[in-house]
């Protein structure tokens, strides 16, 4: 079905930068894909990591076949392995290519919404070319209905482009934190290059050159490139808008700016040295300032290198090596089933997209509010609806409602990277931590809220709302916004509120 496509014109983009509303996601047509050419949208519409829309429906998995790395990043510690820890570079069980193929097929048969297999570490996939490419080669033969993708630091990328294009990998993510070697030296202490460990600016310069060369080569081959950047306040935060411009001009189609995760207990350079990560507001401001130039991704969960499931969940425990050993998978039958399910999901997504476009049109014709924007948190487990009990939410999606419409901003973890152990943290209960994670939001929409959290939320100035259970997220957020406006809660257009939000 052909759907209306919004053009990302400069005038809209300028407007977006000023009002804090990005051009690519204004109104309830809210979708980062709207400004993309159809050919690209076609390729990413069922890829949860590349399409905000798709991530409500489709699942992904990573197989940890690539342990070796050829660089050191200051936000990474190669010693770490914790089952309760969820961040890139962390895995529990390293797999051989053979085990990875078995696991992938077991997951694909059990979770038919799983459309994408990525290799993301725990080291750098392209620093482990034999293990990575054997996995890809076998999967492209044995499970041809699974999309393959890879993420890399880029150092070995130019040498791998030819091989990547052979395996039908049409999505590659490069982590590019800088295009300036001086800044690079503050992020990458060393690289291994031409049989030597090269430190400082010299090493960073080679890495940057390889990343840019690899990006250009991928684009020349017609491979889609997403660029990931870690936002490190005081190091590259002022510089990432330029990175965004550079990679866009070379043909990258999506930029994912992620917050630095740095805690002393991770034993990373940044963690131990007390480098802080950005606040949600700083991250949002940077994403907004880049969005005039570039398609921004905001739904990344910075998942583990062995994550399984929808982006907000991890079902890795169901597919440990001993468990998959016992599973008997008929992949032909599974493929038939997967096809039917994918088609049904696609139809549902298409009809919802059309519905959204119609509603956006209606919204435009209604008299425009002059109220200030409001952040709201939503508890969902997928399908684009409000369907999770407040107390069960592991994460919340954050939406901004404004006179322009509703747009997706980010997600926030409810349990602070931890397994939900009440003894964790400084004596704060999980509930207190969750409420703190929602700072800046003025309402939280979920299927139900218990008595105790209800009172605590109200005390924290966050209106609990269980009246929109099973309703589409954007509709519910807009309805609550209109109620707040009608009740006179949003009277003056107060810019300061968003700045503090």
């Amino acid at each position: 079905m052909q759907l209306p496509v919004l053009n990302n014109t400069p005038s809209q983009a300028e407007h977006g930068a000023k009002s804090g509303c990005s051009a690519s996601s204004c109104g309830t047509t809210d979708n980062q894909m709207d400004s993309l050419p159809d050919s690209i949208r076609e390729k990413v519409q069922n890829h949860p990591c590349y399409s905000e829309d798709a991530h409500h429906y489709f699942a992904r998995m990573h197989v940890a076949v690539a342990p070796a790395c050829n660089i050191q990043c200051h936000y990474c510690n190669r010693k770490y392995d914790c089952a309760n820890e969820s961040r890139p570079g962390v895995v529990s069980e390293l797999l051989t290519p053979d085990q990875a193929v078995k696991k992938t097929m077991a997951v694909a048969a059990t979770i038919p919404q799983m459309t994408v297999l990525g290799i993301a570490g725990p080291g750098d996939p392209l620093a482990n070319p034999e293990r990575t490419f054997e996995t890809f080669r076998r999967l492209s033969q044995e499970a041809p209905d699974i999309k393959l993708c890879v993420s890399t630091n880029g150092l070995a990328l130019p040498d791998a482009v030819e091989e990547l294009s052979k395996h039908n990998i049409d999505h590659v993510t490069i982590t590019i934190n800088t295009v300036d070697p001086e800044i690079g030296a503050k992020i990458y202490p060393w690289i291994f290059w031409n049989n030597k460990r090269i430190k400082g600016v010299k090493g960073a310069k080679i890495l940057i050159e390889q990343q840019q060369k690899g990006l250009e080569m991928l684009i020349a081959k017609g491979i889609l490139v997403k660029v990931n950047s870690v936002m490190i306040p005081g190091v590259n935060d002022q510089h990432l808008a330029e990175v965004s411009k550079v990679v866009k001009s070379k043909g990258a189609f999506l930029h994912n700016v992620m917050p630095l995760i740095a805690e002393a207990e991770h034993g990373t350079f940044y963690g131990v040295m007390g480098q802080r990560g950005p606040t949600p507001e700083e991250l949002q401001d940077l994403q907004d300032s880049c969005s005039g130039d570039m398609n921004m991704m905001r739904h990344c969960r910075q998942c583990r290198a062995d994550a399984v499931g929808l982006l907000g969940e991890d079902r890795g425990d169901e597919f440990t090596l001993d468990k998959i050993e016992e599973m008997d998978i008929d992949y032909q039958a599974a493929m038939e089933k997967r096809k039917v399910i994918h088609q049904a999901i696609q139809e549902e997504m298409d009809s919802k997209r059309l519905e959204k476009a119609v509603k956006a049109q209606q919204h435009k014709q209604e008299p425009k509010l002059t109220t200030r924007p409001v952040l709201m948190a939503v508890a969902t487990s997928g399908q684009g609806i409000i369907n999770v009990h407040f107390g069960h939410a592991k994460e919340f999606l954050i939406y901004e409602a404004s006179p322009e419409g509703v747009r997706f901003i980010s997600h926030r973890k409810a349990d602070q990277y931890c397994g939900g152990d009440t003894s964790c943290g400084d004596g704060e209960s999980v509930l207190q931590l969750t409420i703190r994670a929602l700072a800046g939001c003025e309402a939280v929409l979920c299927s139900k809220v218990g008595y105790e959290p209800w009172e605590m939320l109200e005390a924290a100035g966050i209106a609990p709302n269980g009246e929109h259970a099973m309703e589409p997220i954007e509709d519910a957020v807009l309805a609550v916004y209109k109620e707040m406006a009608a009740a006179g809660k949003l009277d003056e257009k107060n810019e300061a509120v968003r700045a503090n939000a």
Binding site: P67, A68, C69, Q72, R78, A127, M273
Partner: protein
């Protein structure tokens, strides 16, 4: 004359393919160097290849038993700062 890998090794595989003498192999609980095969890269490279890619400080020792990558040399974290952070964490 041979280097050795000790129990700080995290089994990341990085050293195995870069060894010019095929002296390194996967083993339990960690990778090992075959001292009969290790040439310390003599004649092939001016620096130890395994220790040039190894990300873990102290995991590879030279033939005198001295860490080729001493604490702080790879992560850039000054050892006293690391000790401070660890003490801080343990006091909780």
């Amino acid at each position: 004359m041979a280097v050795s890998i000790i129990d700080l090794c995290v089994n990341c595989f990085a050293c195995e393919p870069v060894c010019p003498s095929n002296a390194i192999s996967e083993a339990k609980p960690h990778f090992l160097v075959d001292p009969k095969k290790c040439t310390e890269c003599e004649g092939d490279f001016p620096v130890f290849q395994c220790a040039s890619i190894c990300p873990i400080e102290g995991a590879i020792l030279d033939s005198f038993g001295v860490a080729i990558n001493p604490p702080g040399s790879l992560t850039g974290i000054p050892p006293e700062k690391m000790a401070e952070a660890m003490a801080e964490l343990q006091s909780h």
